[in-house]
Amino acid sequence: MKKNWPLWEVFVRSKNGLEHRHFGSLHAADAEMALENARDVYTRRNEGVSIWVVESKNIAASNPLNNGELFEPAQDKVYRHPTFYDLPDDIKHM
């Protein structure tokens, strides 16, 4: 049987940050690897101060308040990513 590495969501609090922000996701076999991978992938340029990783299947997300509710029960487990990432104000495109 093929064994695929589960998906993990990555949250990073940077040096000047007040809270952990969702940076993205990656595949890893266990939490240790997920943390190492997150450090390698998402903190290459900044000094992340704290990294949280959570297996995607363990995240429960709220439903968006629109017609999508017609099709999904209220208390869903997410099978896609929750996205809480806010666009920083000072992002320049190029």
Binding site: R44, D76, Y79, R80, H93
Partner: protein
């Protein structure tokens, strides 16, 4: 759900996009939207990781330590971009493994530019300058695209991409202002990468399907031909600046249009490469399929270890 209900949802969906609202993974979306985004985003991701190969080819032979670390960092960035894009695509309900399967069996495409070989060190300059330059032109508008995870991944990518293009141009500049051998290297690389880079912006508008739909969904802002013109207009002066000649005898500034006229593109070559007959298609696939297959025992081992640890922890807790 009735056809009328679907139509209603679509109307509201399109209105949201027009209001510049982002579509998020748990939102309702037309099946076509989902499929189109899976295709475009996964092919974008595939392009990043296949793109690691032509440049990775020169890491061991970089001419100086400074160039070596810059190239390593660039290729590593591309792996990271692939990762961001795969992650964003997975939010649409497709797994990483499925996407790899599509790539490895040829069902999914990647940017055809990466089917060309990197023959000299100067190719590293040409790729950074031209290929990343063309990519940036495509990518900047995507930072505003309607699908939230894609837009956010692109913002991250664009932030990192600017170093790539600058690095490439600097390599070319140094060569062009160096010895005659170095100048020859630079000119030769430009000669080989110019036309494929133009093709990177996609087929002619009249042969390009999907454009109207893509524009509505903000997957595309300008047409292929417009992007191509933009790329040429911005790049020609850069070549002039460092004393290199664009390999197009019909290239001429057109005062009325305020743009460069340019010669005919060999579209036969483009379609042949897309179909799999480019110089390096086979090698690129062999490398990717090989790496994935050879890595299977490693990935299996990691999972087995994780399961053993989980069981161990469970037993400890009991």
């Amino acid at each position: 759900m009735s056809e009328e209900q679907i139509k209603n949802l679509e109307v509201q969906f399109n209105a949201r996009i027009e209001r510049d609202e982002k579509i998020e993974p748990k939102d309702w979306m037309p099946e076509k939207y989902r499929k189109t985004h899976i295709r475009q985003m996964s092919q974008h991701a595939h392009s990043e990781i296949v793109g690691m190969l032509p440049e990775g080819n020169w890491i061991s032979r970089a001419p100086s330590l400074r160039r070596k670390v810059a190239l390593l960092a660039k290729v590593q960035d591309e792996a990271g971009h692939g990762l961001y894009l795969y992650s964003a695509t997975e939010t649409l309900g497709i797994s990483r493994e499925e996407m790899y399967e599509q790539l490895h069996t040829g069902k999914a495409k990647y940017s055809s530019i990466f089917n060309y070989p990197t023959l000299t060190w100067a190719d590293m300059g040409a790729i950074g300058w031209l290929v990343d330059g063309a990519a940036i032109i495509n990518q900047v508008p995507l930072c505003n695209t309607s699908y939230g995870p894609y837009a956010r991944a692109m913002i991250r990518v664009c932030k990192e991409e600017s170093f790539h293009q600058r690095q490439g141009f600097e390599i070319m500049m140094k060569l062009a202002k160096g010895t005659s051998e170095q100048k020859d290297l630079a000119q030769d690389a430009l000669n080989r990468w110019w036309w494929p880079s133009l093709m990177m912006l996609g087929p002619k508008d009249e042969e390009s399907v999907h454009t109207e739909q893509s524009m509505k969904w903000k997957l595309k802002r300008k047409s292929n031909d417009d992007l191509r013109q933009q790329f040429i207009d911005q790049t020609v002066p850069q070549a002039d600046l460092i004393g290199l000649t664009i390999p197009d005898p019909e290239l001429k500034w057109n005062k009325e249009r305020g743009s460069y006229d340019f010669g005919p593109i060999n579209w036969d070559e483009f379609w042949q490469v897309v179909k799999g007959h480019g110089p390096c298609n086979k090698e690129r696939m062999k490398a990717r399929v090989g790496a994935w297959k050879e890595g299977e025992w490693v990935r299996d081992a990691a999972m087995a270890y994780a399961e053993k640890q989980a069981t161990k922890n469970l037993n400890k807790a009991v």
